[in-house]
C-alpha cells in the first residue's frame, strides 16, 4: 500500500468510527421519549403504594430553559444509552439521579456548603429539583419577589413562623427576596417595574416600549440622552413625561432582588444578615445598583441601569426604605423650619433682654404714680 492509499484508508476509518461513536449520543431524540411519556396516565408504582407520575407535558417542556438551549432528555438522563423497543420499558427501569452539577459546576459547589445540603445528614435529601422542579425550569430573571419566593423558599418554609424580631415582617417579605438577607454574599439590586395607575397592573416591557414608540434595542437610544448607559433622574423624568403624553400614567414599584449567581445557593443557618443599618442608611450598598426591568415574554429579563438618586425621587413612590432611600431635600426643609423657629425664639428673647431695663423703669414710674 502506498502512502496515498494509506492516507485515504485512514480518513475512511476515522470518518466511519466517528460516525459510529456519534450514533448512540444522537440516536435518542426527545420525540422517541415522548412516544411513551406524553401519556398522561403513565406512572410507576413505588414502595408503600406510592405512585410516581412519569408523564411529561411537552407543551411546557418546550418552553423550559433547558429545551430552549437544546438540552435533550438523554443529555440529563445520560444513563439511557439506547432504547430497546422489544421490552415493555425500552430502557432500564431504575434510572440514576440526574447530576445537575455536571453542567452547573459553580452552583453545585456553592450548594455543597449550604444548610440545605447539610440537611442531608439528618435523613433528608434535598436535590436540586426539590427547589427548581424537574422538567419545566424557566428563566427567573423577570420574576418578581413574590414569584421567586413562591417558586422556591415558600414551598417548604413559612417565614411568618420566624422573623418575629423583624419590624414589619410582611412588608419586608413583600419587597425583599428571602436570599437578599439569607445569602448575604450575593450581589443584589433594586428592580424597578412600571405600574400603570389606569389599568392598575404592571406594564409589560412590550407595552412600555410601544408607548415610548421604540423597541428593546432602541430603548436606551431614546431615553439615555447623554449616552452614558445610565438613566439619570432627569432622563427618567423625560421618559415619564413621554409616557404621560401617550396617556400612560403610572409610578415605579421597586423590589430588592438578587443577581442570579451561583452564591445564591450559599444559604446557611446563622449566616443571614440581621443588621437593620446594613440596609436602612443612605450609604447602604444595597441600593447601589438600580435597574429598570424590561422583561420579555419568555421570562428573560433585559434591564437598564438607573441612577441611584431615582430612589429618592417621587417617581418611585411605592418603594421606601426608612433612612435608606429618604428624600434628601425634605431634610433641608426641616433644617429651615427648625432653624427658623429657633431664630424667632432667639431674636425675640434678645429684644426682651435688651428692653428689660426700659420696662423696669416704666414699672417704677407707674408704681410711683399709683402711690
Amino acid at each position: 500500500m502506498n502512502i496515498k492509499t494509506c492516507f485515504w484508508v485512514g480518513v475512511f476509518i476515522t470518518v466511519i468510527s466517528s460516525w459510529l461513536i456519534a450514533i448512540p449520543a444522537h440516536a435518542i431524540e426527545n420525540d422517541e421519549c415522548m412516544e411513551c411519556h406524553s401519556d398522561d396516565s403513565l406512572e410507576r408504582s413505588e414502595s408503600e403504594g406510592m405512585k410516581e407520575d412519569l408523564f411529561i407535558d411537552y407543551s411546557r417542556f418546550k418552553f423550559s430553559v433547558h429545551n430552549i438551549n437544546g438540552i435533550t432528555c438523554v443529555d440529563c438522563h445520560s444513563d439511557i444509552e439506547e432504547l430497546n423497543w422489544d421490552n415493555e420499558v425500552p430502557h432500564q427501569v431504575s434510572l440514576a439521579m440526574v447530576e445537575c452539577d455536571g453542567c452547573h459546576e459553580e452552583e453545585g459547589e456553592a450548594y455543597l456548603n449550604s444548610v440545605h445540603k447539610k440537611a442531608g445528614g439528618k435523613g433528608i435529601t434535598i436535590p436540586c429539583y426539590a427547589c427548581h422542579g424537574y422538567h419545566f425550569v424557566t428563566h427567573l430573571e423577570a420574576d418578581s419577589v413574590f414569584e421567586r419566593e413562591n417558586k422556591f423558599c415558600l414551598k417548604c418554609h413559612n417565614p411568618d413562623n420566624f422573623h418575629d424580631w423583624l419590624p414589619q415582617k410582611d412588608t419586608h417579605f413583600a419587597f425583599v427576596e428571602c436570599a437578599v438577607c439569607h445569602a448575604p454574599e450575593s450581589p443584589r439590586y433594586i428592580s424597578l417595574r412600571f405600574y400603570d395607575l389606569i389599568s392598575k397592573k404592571f406594564l409589560g416591557a412590550k407595552d412600555l416600549l410601544t408607548a415610548l414608540d421604540t423597541d428593546y434595542d432602541g430603548f436606551m437610544e431614546k431615553v439615555d440622552k447623554d449616552k452614558d448607559d445610565v438613566i439619570s433622574l432627569e432622563e427618567l423624568e423625560d421618559m415619564v413625561l413621554l409616557l404621560r403624553q401617550k396617556d400612560v400614567r403610572g409610578t415605579f414599584h421597586g423590589e430588592l432582588v438578587l443577581e442570579l449567581v451561583p452564591t445564591v445557593h450559599h444559604v446557611n443557618r446563622g449566616g443571614a444578615n440581621r443588621e437593620c443599618e446594613q440596609c436602612h442608611n443612605p450609604q447602604s450598598p444595597f441600593f447601589e445598583e438600580v435597574y429598570i426591568a424590561l422583561n420579555k415574554e419568555d421570562g428573560t429579563g433585559q434591564r437598564q441601569k438607573v441612577e441611584r438618586r431615582v430612589l429618592e425621587s417621587y417617581y418611585v413612590n411605592h418603594f421606601y426604605a426608612i433612612g435608606g432611600t429618604r428624600v434628601r431635600y425634605l431634610d433641608k426643609i426641616g433644617l429651615v423650619l427648625i432653624v427658623g423657629g429657633l431664630s424667632v425664639v432667639a431674636g425675640h428673647l434678645l429684644v426682651r433682654i435688651a428692653t428689660a431695663p426700659a420696662r423696669r423703669k416704666r414699672k417704677v414710674q407707674k408704681d410711683e404714680f399709683s402711690t
Binding site: H318, F319, I322, G341, R352, R359
Partner: protein, 216 residues
C-alpha cells in the same frame, strides 16, 4: 398670693394629656432622628429606636384620645374656637403685642379666664395642630407602623413615600414647634408661671397682666 387670685385653668385630664404628650413628643423626636438619620447618630440601634418609637406613638395616640374625650365630653372644646367676627381685630392686637407691646411693657390684650384661656392666635394655632397636624401625624404614623396592613389606604394617598413625606415634614414642624412653645410659655407674669400652672392647674390672675410679666 391670695387664694381668690388663683384661677383653675388646666383641669387634671388636660394636665395629664399635656405632660404625657410632651414626654412622648420628646421621645418620638429623639427616636425619629435615630430612625431617619441612622448614618449620623448612634444613640440606639435602629431596631430599638423603631420599637420605642412605635410604643410611644401609641401612648401619644391614647393621650390624644383622652384629650378628645375630655374636651368633647365637657364641651369645653369651645375654648379652641375663636369668635369669627372678632378674629381679625383681636389677632392684629395680639400680633402687635408680641411684636412690640411686650417689649415696652404694655398689658397683654388677652385676659386669661378658665372659660377663655387662649388668646386668638393660640386658638388658631391649636385648632390647626390638634385637628389637622396631630391627627395627620398619628394616621401617617399608624400607616408606617404596618405598611402591608394599610397598603390600600397608603395607595389611596399616593404611595408610601407620600405618607412618609407627610410624617417627616410634620416631624420637623413639631420639633420647631416645641422650641417656640417652650419659649412662649416663658412669657407669663414670671418666666416659670405658665410651667407651674401646667403642673398645678392654677394660674395666678393678674387684672391688667401689665408690665410686671415682662420684667423677668
Amino acid at each position: 398670693m391670695e387664694d381668690e387670685k388663683l384661677m383653675y385653668v388646666h383641669p387634671a385630664p388636660v394636665r395629664v394629656w399635656h405632660w404625657v404628650n410632651a414626654v412622648g413628643f420628646v421621645i418620638l423626636i429623639i427616636t425619629g432622628i435615630q430612625i431617619r438619620f441612622a448614618e449620623m447618630v448612634d444613640w440606639f440601634s435602629l431596631e430599638e429606636a423603631i420599637q420605642l418609637h412605635n410604643y410611644v406613638g401609641f401612648v401619644v395616640i391614647a393621650a390624644y384620645g383622652l384629650w378628645v374625650s375630655y374636651y368633647f365630653g365637657t364641651m369645653k372644646i369651645k375654648l379652641y374656637f375663636p369668635n369669627p367676627r372678632a378674629f381679625v381685630p383681636n389677632a392684629i392686637k395680639q400680633i402687635k403685642y408680641y411684636g412690640s407691646g411686650i417689649f415696652k411693657g404694655d398689658p397683654n390684650p388677652h385676659h386669661m379666664t378658665p372659660e377663655n384661656k387662649f388668646n386668638v392666635l393660640q386658638k388658631n394655632a391649636y385648632v390647626g395642630i390638634m385637628f389637622v397636624f396631630l391627627p395627620a401625624q398619628m394616621i401617617t404614623g399608624l400607616f408606617l407602623w404596618r405598611v402591608k396592613r394599610f397598603e390600600n389606604y397608603i395607595d389611596l394617598i399616593g404611595g408610601i413615600k407620600i405618607v412618609s413625606t407627610i410624617h417627616v415634614l410634620l416631624f420637623f414642624f413639631f420639633t420647631a414647634f416645641i422650641f417656640v412653645h417652650v419659649y412662649l410659655a416663658t412669657l407669663g407674669h414670671t418666666p416659670l408661671a405658665h410651667f407651674k400652672a401646667m403642673f398645678t392647674g392654677f394660674e395666678e390672675h393678674h387684672e391688667s397682666e401689665t408690665a410686671d410679666e415682662a420684667v423677668f
